[in-house]
Symmetry: D2
């Protein structure tokens, strides 16, 4: 299972003393980007050379427990389905010290071009994603 | 229907030229907070006096169209259900100039105390919310 | 003196219970953008039609007092100098309820083109800014 | 010289195609926190056990070149002075691939307690910082 680790800084927290709820999406984006990079997909190049951009189409997040300042997080990425212009991913955000699940994200990514039209993934891209 | 308007600034956009996907959650939080204020609920006071905090428990967002720099947004808030410790809300983010729907959010809010335990909403709070 | 008002939401605060320090820059950007709009300058159009982008070149911020959740802020904008490719502005962030100064910003803006080269402001743009 | 590396993700960029200007402060906070941790100072503990919080009092940032999506950044931290309640630090943000300087930050940190009053650093804290 692919994962990255990321620290919780003041910038990620709010006055409730916990990670601000939209920041979990930012942690998840970092993990997806590193997942893509690990599969030899760099988004800047993909946009320039192939005119393909990944955008989030739908997202569900369940908040299970609260992350706090100085926590070390582990964020996982798993492709659950890949069809046409859509990639479905499951992501977990865990507190690394005790492996407690903080949040679980299901995200649907769509491939579009710079004119914001859906474009089917080239076979090579699909293969990279599933490699 | 309750709504607020909010402008899209550089800080809300990303290198794709559109609103960054987690920022929609931030716009929605602003709208919910103003919705609460309009119902005479100020979160700072509620935390101090009643030891009640609203936290997001679950959230689903569908991204329908892309908001851009300088767009004026309208963000709506509607309570769809309210039971025990849970408030369910539906929110829409629209581009005000042509009323196009950009995103639709369904959010489940839970009332907890500062020890992060769920607490049932006092009757008075419920009445304010539904007033 | 030009100013806007803006509310402090959870998204603007951190676990210290106050506005996170970089968020003051975001409030200031909103005020500068509305200042420009009031002088009939819309940045999206300026970029498209005149290939001119405003970027921050240097910034100094003094933090005087701490803003908190639910505070209503007033953010001012004043041009102090305008020469060649540079605009110097002074901005204050005040708590509106008691007019206490929270932070003071001095910012140097430079006009560049999409190739990131400095470009002198057209006379018309200068006139709008000083109108 | 202490430094950390950090990747530039979509969340750090804006519609100008570059890192949004306030995000440099966020990268710098991450570096300062890791600098503290390396000197055996964890801010959560320091707040709980010693009632000492670090806050930014003044900050100057010069933007030299534009960071972009997918850049790998190196962020340095150096204490330049430490006296009474004040710590002065110099930080650089460099693009790691070619060592180009993107921004330079000078920051004054003040130690306060939870009542927001300045408190002199205990000798032990000073020694840790300078070790």
């Amino acid at each position: 299972m692919f994962s990255i680790t990321s620290r919780v800084y003041y910038q990620d927290t709010d006055a409730g003393g916990v990670i601000y709820h939209s920041k979990y999406l930012d942690f998840c984006e970092r993990a997806r980007t590193e997942f893509l990079r690990k599969h030899n997909i760099e988004q800047t190049e993909l946009a320039k050379k192939e005119n393909i951009i990944f955008v989030v189409r739908n997202l569900n997040i369940e908040y299970v427990a609260s992350g706090k300042l100085d926590d070390l997080l582990e964020i996982t990425v798993k492709i659950t389905n890949l069809i046409g212009v859509r990639i479905f991913m499951e992501q977990k955000i865990l507190r690394k010290s005790d492996n407690v699940l903080l949040a679980k994200l299901i995200v649907e990514i769509v491939t579009i071009n710079q004119e914001f039209k859906p474009v089917r993934m080239p076979q090579e891209l699909k293969e990279k994603l599933l490699s």
